[in-house]
Amino acid sequence: MSITELDRPASTDTRLKVVDCDIHPTMREDSQILPFLPKRWQDHYKTYRRNVRQGLHGTLTHPRMQVNRIDAIPPGGGPPGSDLDFMRRQHLDANNIEWGLLQALQPSGAAERNVEFGAALASANNDWQIAEWIDKEPRLKGSIQVTQEYPEAAVREIEKRANDRRFVQVSMSPRADEPLGRRRYWPIFEACERNDLPIGLHVPGFGAGYASTPAGWPSFYLEEHQTFAFIIMGVFTSMVLEGAFEAFPGLKLVLVEGGFAWVAPLAWRLDKHWERMRSEVPHLKRKPSDYIREHIWYTTQPMEEPERHEDLVRAIEWIGWDRLLFSTDYPHWDFDDPRMVLRVNVTNAQRRMIFSENAKRVFRFG
């Protein structure tokens, strides 16, 4: 690949407006959440901070080689993703973003062991999204953060925000106490389906208290990064086999930052072995790939990089051109630039689907 190839624009439609289904707004300091918490929880936070299932207090036990793009540090200070003006200049304006879907990961309360505090954090996070981002920038839409381990509170939070069009999806952690398809989470699915809100699952940093792989805890960040796909695969499998899509036929699931090239082989595998063992799961009325095809979407970042470019097209064909939702993961290090990321032979119609139309069908923007 030479520089001259890069100079050729990836899109023949240079006015294509882009929907970005994964942007991470960040607080300048953690204490920015405090004004959005009731006093009782402000005091709790100042005294006890966060209580998650790992040995280090407040730092991930697999320190990232890099968290953010180095060039995303705002000139006025603060961490990448904390400055709306800079985000506008560097990303929303520069990349022609029509809609940007926020995944406000920290603090979201999803991993908090004290679930009452977790629920308060989630609600505060949602208020912070509105006050600091969505109300100030009409292109941005929010994800309703909920504490999945406290389903009653999660449902309350969803009901509170459901008619607020500033939020277009519900977000929870796929690293839940149990595989997310299990029945204890069904009240949350019911609320999402009833309110026509897709669930967007983003790979989390903090663990659920069991190893991040079925083989045990990995040593290196290189390995830990691979686990994102495993978690998403696990949730994918659970939601299908538990019959969540049979119970909630209107439910939409968006898998964020988990990749997508693994989807087709896993769907083939699920179908094949379900044939053999379907007596164990009689609640499934259809084969797994039917549910997968109808209920699940995948964000594109980090874009798959097969050894042969054309295999990317194959991977997309195998899951469906209507299944992919473009995302950048701005400002994280494995950011995908919309102009550069899809340098394969796709039609303009396919490009529009991935960069815009699919997302507009899944989410109620505008």
Partner: protein
């Protein structure tokens, strides 16, 4: 036709650091490595990031798992996005062999080298020092 541009004074760029400038519409990084100057076009061949805004790192080799050896004299620029590394002096990337051929390609490690060379080369720019100025030809 290439033209010569003054981009910095020699004092401006401390050893072990870089300056990023725009010359003739192109972003360029100028590096001072132990008093010698090198320049690269600041565009990562991977996804077009501003390559030269990344961190300067050492080349790291290993004789066996658990051992880490920092190799002097082969500083690399680490792309600020996805972390790909390029030798500042040569522009050579150090990540991946030719990834287009698929079947039966043999990955060779050249004698004396411990890491496979990558397919991408960051574009070098001729640079010289005249009096106390750093000059590039673009």
């Amino acid at each position: 036709m290439a033209a010569r541009h003054v981009v910095a004074t020699v004092d401006e760029i401390a050893p072990g650091s870089a300056k990023v400038v725009t010359v003739a519409g192109r972003e360029i990084g100028i590096f001072n490595l132990a008093g010698s100057f090198y320049a690269l076009i600041s565009k990562c061949p991977h996804e077009g990031a501003s390559l030269c805004r990344g961190k300067i790192v050492n080349r790291v080799e290993s004789d066996e798992p658990g051992r880490y050896r920092v190799v002097a004299g082969h500083e690399m620029i680490r792309c600020p996005w996805h972390g790909w590394q390029y030798d500042i002096r040569t522009g050579q990337s150090w990540c991946d062999p030719d990834n287009i051929a698929l079947r039966h390609y043999a990955v060779t490690i050249e004698p004396g080298e411990r890491i496979v060379k990558g397919p991408y080369v960051a574009e070098k720019i001729p640079v010289s020092v005249e009096a106390s100025y750093v000059v590039v030809e673009v």
